[in-house]
């Protein structure tokens, strides 16, 4: 097995205090061969010097939001921050609020939780998330650009992290980043040639967060891009984890409570 050219190649990442915003835990009915339990996820994070991760639970995404949140609570470990499943139903919101969430992951697709992301359908949920500065994760596959615009126009203080936006999105993404100061993206699929450098050159490092898409993708991809980007050390550390920690601190401060 590799002694000369293995994980040590990226050991410099140990100094970056990596915080992954895009990870999932638990069994997946679709990606069964790749899914990881909490201990497996932590072991994979260790291989790549990832200190912390925001995780959602496959059960909450593929099956039932409430069941998924129970499973997520069971699987949480000290280095894992929950991204709870969230529905727009009034009764569900009470239970979610009782968890004092730092992050949620919305999966509104027709084959998932099947609701509209529009304000007329999920308005009270967004009002809660906005008021408490909860980090709201939404996969690009789950929201089209015009709906994202409507969402952020109607709830301008909502902190949205657009996950898996892909590498072909800049012609949409840049105008939106200019327009909406609380919109962020993760780097798991933002993998075009020198794209991260161009992003930092044009928009600064504050709006992009390190993400891996574990357990589906190897963290080596996002980490390799971050490691090879010709950007300042300050920018690299902000992307690696500084930006996400700042957002989490903002959520904690929003209600002056200890939340998890």
């Amino acid at each position: 097995m590799s002694q000369l050219i293995g994980e040590a190649l990226l050991q410099e990442a140990a100094e970056w205090n990596l915080f992954d915003v895009n990870a999932r835990v638990g069994p997946s009915g679709i990606y069964g061969g790749l899914s990881l339990d909490a201990d497996g996820l932590l072991a994979e994070m260790d291989r790549f010097w990832i200190r912390d991760a925001v995780v959602s639970h496959w059960t909450g995404e593929e099956y039932d939001a409430t069941e998924g949140n129970v499973a997520l609570e069971r699987d949480l470990r000290p280095r894992l921050t929950a991204a709870w499943a969230a529905l727009q139903e009034p009764g569900f919101l009470d239970g979610l609020a009782a968890r004092r969430p730092l992050a949620v992951r919305l999966t509104p697709g027709a084959n998932q939780h099947n609701f509209s992301l529009a304000g007329w359908c999920a308005g009270p949920l967004y009002e809660y998330l906005e008021e408490h500065s909860v980090i709201t994760l939404i996969g690009r596959v789950d929201i089209d650009w015009d709906r994202l615009v409507a969402l952020m126009e109607n709830f301008p203080r909502l902190v949205v992290v657009l996950l898996d936006c892909g590498y072909r999105a800049d012609r949409f993404l840049f105008p939106l980043l200019d327009r909406f100061p609380h919109l962020y993206l993760d780097g798991a699929t933002y993998l075009a040639h020198r794209q991260l450098e161009a992003f930092v050159d044009q928009r600064g490092p504050e709006r992009i967060l390190f993400g891996t898409r574990l357990p589906l993708y190897t963290p080596a991809a996002a980490l390799g891009v971050l490691a090879s980007a010709r950007i300042s050390d300050g920018a690299r550390r902000a992307i690696a984890g500084g930006n996400l920690r700042r957002l989490l601190a903002g959520c904690r401060n929003a209600s002056g409570e200890v939340k998890g």
């Binding site: 590799s2 990226l10 590498y167 040639h193 794209q195 161009a198 589906l216 993708y217 080596a220 390799g224």
Partner: protein, 255 residues
């Protein structure tokens, strides 16, 4: 991050891209990144040719090879749609490399790789022991990986690189299934979806000698695929084969 092994990259491009901004895509910017990552040579195809203009696109490759003969290798890109053009291009640019490097993009040219217009190209590749890089995509009717075993068996002299290995998790499994059916099919690792464990699985099923490093530079970030290979749970020997040895053997042998 820098590869400790001098890399030979089987999949690159020259040109911009239609549906997203290609950053730092000029030859000199690519060379700077190649130097940074330790990519010694990059085999490139013209993106203009992959879309709509093979004669002009291949001429751009010719110019690049004249400027940087030690850093780039050139694929001759052919389009099956203009009658007779494919063979003309193969003959016109035969000096790019021997054995020839040929690029097919059935997806962008909207023509099935099994179609009759490609037959003269496959016959040419068979007789010249060409290395043929073909864009592939999961289950695509024009270029799905499972279309290739029959072509490969019928043209055993051609060495066929399954570009992107079908891209998706399912596409990779199709590519592995295809390569398992014909010894002259190879997996190219370039692609945007870096599935965990897929490389280990490929080495286990096919052997490292059937897998080649490709970056898709300057569209995809070479460092992601490089880091994937270097951190995978395969032997150092396998990594060196994938990053360098396999493509070196293909381009220096007559097949």
């Amino acid at each position: 991050m820098r590869s400790p092994v001098g890399v030979l990259d089987c999949h690159g491009h020259l040109g911009t891209h239609v549906d997203f901004p290609a950053y730092k895509s000029d030859a000199e910017s690519m060379l700077a990144v190649m130097d940074l990552l330790n990519i010694e040579r990059l085999a490139v195809t013209s993106t203009l040719a992959c879309y709509n203009d093979c004669p002009r696109g291949n001429a751009e490759i010719d110019g690049l090879l004249k400027r940087y003969p030690d850093r780039f290798l050139g694929y001759i890109t052919v389009n099956p749609n203009p009658p007779g053009q494919a063979l003309q291009e193969l003959e016109r640019w035969a000096h790019f490399h021997r054995p020839p490097l040929i690029k097919l993009h059935p997806g962008l040219h909207h023509y099935p790789v099994t179609g009759p217009h490609y037959r003269p190209v496959w016959d040419y590749a068979n007789s010249t022991h060409a290395i043929v890089l073909v864009h592939t995509w999961d289950s695509d009717p024009n270029c799905g990986p499972l279309l290739f075993p029959a072509i490969a068996r019928e043209h055993p002299g051609a060495r066929i690189l399954l570009g992107h290995s079908g891209v998706t998790w399912r596409g990779y499994h199709q590519a592995m299934e295809a390569a398992g059916q014909a010894p002259n099919l190879y997996l190219d690792l370039s692609g945007s979806q870096r599935h965990r464990l897929i490389l280990e699985l490929g080495v286990e099923r096919l052997g490292a000698e059937r897998i080649l490093f490709g970056s898709d530079l300057p569209y995809l970030e070479a460092s992601m695929t490089m880091a994937h290979v270097l951190t995978s749970r395969i032997t150092d020997e396998a990594k060196v084969q994938i990053l360098r040895g396999n493509f070196l053997q293909l381009i220096t042998e007559a097949g």
